[in-house]
């Protein structure tokens, strides 16, 4: 903890701005506010700064949290946070940290997905595959400017069909049209499709495309309660691919440390404040935040906690209109990922090649694998052959995994026993395509979605603060407040639950900070 002032019960404090949540977006919000000369405090309920992206322990060692490569961050954004060249390896391009789709076939051991260069594919690829992949990449780069504009722009407010709305829709339509009629039709047609259909349009049923299809599905849909045959998942795929067009190779944990230092340098503080109890308000203005450790008065508040927690627990459904409360209650937040950390005594390497090249590794050898892994989650079970995404510590002896298709409400109930069963499914799968053996395991930590909820404050263990099905993407987080506003005039919503959702993105935080004078 950077600082840990008085944590006695009923301690009272007063600042200019309070930021709820110390995950990267919360820290970024605090930095931006501090740069505006505001006295800002970040309230974090747990021991870890950075939430799920902070460092957490497995056994005796401190694990680098759940580092995910920083796709979608722009140079301009890093500059705006005041980062100079020496604070982050920010000249490390995304190409230096490709995603590796790992296979279980000697002839096609892996596929490196990387937007800068054509995939560094090894093995014997068919001519059709190479051609199809080139055409696919062209398609993505044609769609990319538009998708990125959508992701970085505001969502049109469908509750007020005024001139603003017409303008917002018309400009988007014009931009779309600018792509050319054919390309525009193709994109419009592609967006609502199931990913499986889109990829089948581009790759047919080429056998050597399986690893690509599987990897893309896993990477773009993991944690969203969706699978490749679900309609609308092409939108998720395009979003994931287009945001990869730029970004940086450093991981989220590095970002967290850098932000922490920057905030402290600017005079901001991060406080271990215990669990949120309420956001007190009167006349639709927030006055103070109460936690189990004390209360903080401020003139402005930004919450990067998930929307359900912020609005239902914090503000209280009685202090907002019924439609807003209802819409918030209806948000689908079904967490379906688990986080597993492994400490090994032997470096991990792939089975069918020399070493891991990618920084972010995915195991999903085919689309059918991903779909089959998803099915059990609908019935309150976890997949015996799960989809795995992981990163390795520098010595390759610590593994940080995201395991997909793990239900929040397990039929058999989460317990040490069922967590152990999950661990077994994970390690069994690991041994399919890596050098892993049970004798390598020193210690482990298994965080099922319920543990994620209690430990990192994620409602229902939903790591994206809200599933990204199409309907929840076009009105994010809720239709009444897509513009960072909330039922309280001086409480702003930032965080992963806001448009565009998912990974680290400064759009919402920037918009929130902008509204604070």
């Amino acid at each position: 903890m950077a600082s840990n002032p008085n944590t006695a019960q009923n301690s009272k404090h007063k600042v200019d701005c309070v930021v709820l949540g110390s995950e990267p977006m919360g820290l970024a919000a605090a930095v931006l506010l501090a740069q505006k000369n505001k006295k800002v405090v970040v309230l974090e309920h747990s021991d870890t700064i950075g939430g799920i992206h902070g460092s957490w322990k497995i056994g005796g060692t401190s694990q680098p949290g759940l580092p995910v490569p920083m796709h979608g961050v722009t140079r301009a954004e890093l500059l705006s946070l005041g980062f100079g060249k020496d604070s982050l390896q920010w000249d490390q391009k995304i190409g230096d940290a490709p995603t590796e789709f790992c296979g279980e076939d000697k002839s096609i051991p892996y596929f490196l997905y990387n937007s800068d260069t054509q995939a560094a594919m090894t093995g014997e690829w068919s001519k059709e595959m190479v051609q199809s992949f080139e055409q696919f990449c062209t398609f993505i780069s044609e769609c990319s400017p538009f998708i990125q504009r959508l992701a970085s722009g505001k969502l049109p407010n469908t509750r007020n069909l005024n001139l603003n709305f017409i303008w917002s829709v018309a400009t988007k339509a014009a931009r779309l049209r600018f792509m050319g009629k054919d390309k525009m039709m193709e994109l419009l047609r592609s967006l609502p499709m199931p990913q499986a259909d889109l990829l089948s349009d581009h790759f047919g049923s080429l056998a050597d495309a399986n690893i690509l299809k599987g990897g893309l599905s896993a990477a773009s849909l993991g944690g969203h309660f969706l699978a490749p045959h679900s309609p609308g998942t092409s939108a998720n795929l395009l979003l994931w691919l287009c945001r990869r067009q730029h970004g940086f190779g450093f991981g989220s944990t590095e970002l967290v440390s850098a932000l922490e230092k920057r905030l402290t340098d600017l005079g901001g503080t991060i406080v271990k404040a215990g669990k949120l109890q309420s956001i007190v308000s009167s006349n639709h203005l927030a006055t103070e935040v109460q936690t189990s450790a004390g209360s903080w008065k401020a003139s402005n508040f930004i919450s990067t906690l998930d929307t359900k927690k912020t609005l239902l627990k914090g503000v209280g459904s009685r202090n907002m209109d019924f439609g807003t409360a209802q819409e918030t209650k209806n948000m689908r937040m079904r967490g379906c990922s688990a986080v597993v950390g492994l400490e090994l005594n032997t470096a991990l390497s792939p089975k069918f090649s020399d070493r891991f090249i990618g920084k972010h590794i995915v195991f999903a050898p085919s689309q059918e694998y991903v779909e089959k892994a998803f099915d059990p989650v609908k019935y309150g079970e976890f997949a015996k052959n799960p989809v795995l995404e992981f990163t390795l510590g520098p010595d390759q002896k610590s593994v940080s995994l995201r395991v997909h298709s793990v239900p929040y409400e397990l039929d058999e109930k989460w317990s040490d026993e069922t967590r152990q069963q999950l661990l077994q499914a994970v390690t069994k799968t690991l041994s399919r395509f890596t050098s892993y053996q049970d004798s390598h395991l020193v210690s482990s930590v298994v965080m099922d979605p319920q543990t994620l909820e209690s430990r990192f404050g994620l409602s229902e263990g939903q790591i994206f603060h809200g599933e990204m099905g199409l309907d929840q993407m076009i009105a994010r987080p809720i239709v009444q407040h897509t513009d960072q506003s909330s039922p309280l005039k001086n409480l702003f919503l930032g965080g992963a639950g806001c448009h565009p959702g998912g990974m680290f993105q400064l759009r919402a935080v920037n918009e929130a900070v902008r509204q604070i004078k």
Binding site: T158, R159, N160, L161, I166, A173, R177, K181, M184, M185, E186, L188, R189, S190, L191, P192, M193, D197, D201, L226, H229, S230, P231, G232, T233, G323, N330, R332, E368, E371, K372, D375, K378, Y379, G469, L470, D471, I474, A475, V479
Partner: protein, 536 residues
Amino acid sequence: MIQKAKSYRSKYDAIVIGAGHNGLTCAAYLAKAGKKVLVLERRHLLGGAAVSEEVVPGFTFSVCSYVISLFRPHIIRELELAKHGLEILPLETSYSPHHDGPGLCRWADSEKSRREISRFSRKDAEKYPEFALDMQRVSMFARNIIDQKAPDPTSFNPSELWKLLKLGKQFRDFGPDFVHMHNKLLTMSSYDFLSEYFESDALKAPMSVSGIIGTFLGVRSPGSAYVLLHHYMGEIDGVFRSWGFAKGGTGALSNAIGRAAAAHGAEIHVNAGVEKINLKNGRATGVVLENGDEIAADCVVSGCDPFRTLFGFVGEDNLEPDFAEGLKQFRMRGSSGKVNMALSRLPTFKDGREGTAHLRGDIAIAPSVRYLEKAYDQAKYGEFSERPYLNIVIPSLVDPSVAPPGKHVMSCFVQYAPYHIKEGPSHWPKLRDKFAKTVIDTIEEFAPDIRDCIEHVQALTPWDLEQDYGLTEGNIFHGELSLEQLLFLRPTAGWAKYKTPIKGLWMCASGSHPGGGIMGAPGELAAKTMLRSAAV
């Protein structure tokens, strides 16, 4: 009405290929406008998939489609179909048996329905009429889209922009939350959408499944919510009782339209299958029949699906490569089959309910959402569901004309039966018996004496629907009703207004806007478009 002698005019204003209900509707409107129309049907009777056949002597089966849920009321009026023999009998109850207990039945009597639903959840019982009201409001809006040509938001044509603005104003009139409700219906799964209103599985299962009939979606697949509206659109047309089935089976509807067309002067020939469309300089000039006869016309309208029309009758060689590639991406992907049975008596459902009032509507084998989703899961991997969703109607309970006295017809719509089974579609005939057995086994779990009642079973797999009824890949809607294949994208971008790249060749069936469901709308709109453009 149906000509015996095969003598044709030297030239027609329009030839309609296929006497399915849309082809006949199109022909009727064209004939009504004074055009000389010829309808050519391959089979020996009218209807296509909207057909009644006496498969077993004394029993009339609605072989394929079995309810007329959405046939546009104004078409019934304008073509005077009642005068030509169309009688629609109401389907008023919706019964969903369970393995234990009396199951759930929803009635026309709203208090009775409330009491039934209360057995599972009191809150759900009270929200049920509120849900109906919400859906009715959206249906009022959706109706406008169905009854007009598809708006094209990608065109900058002033008339299109004007249409879009008017549409926007309609959105506004319905209130600030309407656009969002509409967006949710377009993008959510029927299960998730219903879960925002209801809590009990017993209610959500049968309600969500009406959303996926004929599609390759599960009740938990995003995008399945919109089809929930179908039922409610039928309700607002309820004054016409269009939510029901035709007396004499679905074929009675086709026959009535046929009579209406003939009354206006259209000629209809059966046993006159078309082999190909004659082209001259890229223009359709008429057709060639399977027996070699050539018939000329100013234009040709196809009542068949887009693949049969363009890859079949026209041929890929005669199409621009880009267009052909684009059209190939139109997904057919049939997902259902049909099992029709002649019964010596009514089976006994083990629900303990007295009488047969609850069997006079539709009977849905959809005991839980889990059951339905598991049925779907299998289809994803190329298998037909071991325990499928069944939508059963026993029309003989209300319409004595379809079975001998005391006997009955049982029509079972079966989902999922994917055309593309993992062994390949042509393997289907070998699976037909197993498929029929699966269906009967499923019914047996709810009505243990079904096997004792069966006199005859007719099983139609997606393969049979393709081979015998002209439905490519067995898709009952001539192409999936998924968002990327609707409106201005149906059947392919740029060709959603019933025209094709071949001059003089038009399409008027479910493969065009607004899609399938026995609406008659594609047929009517195609005819009106043709007449307005003076193509004929």
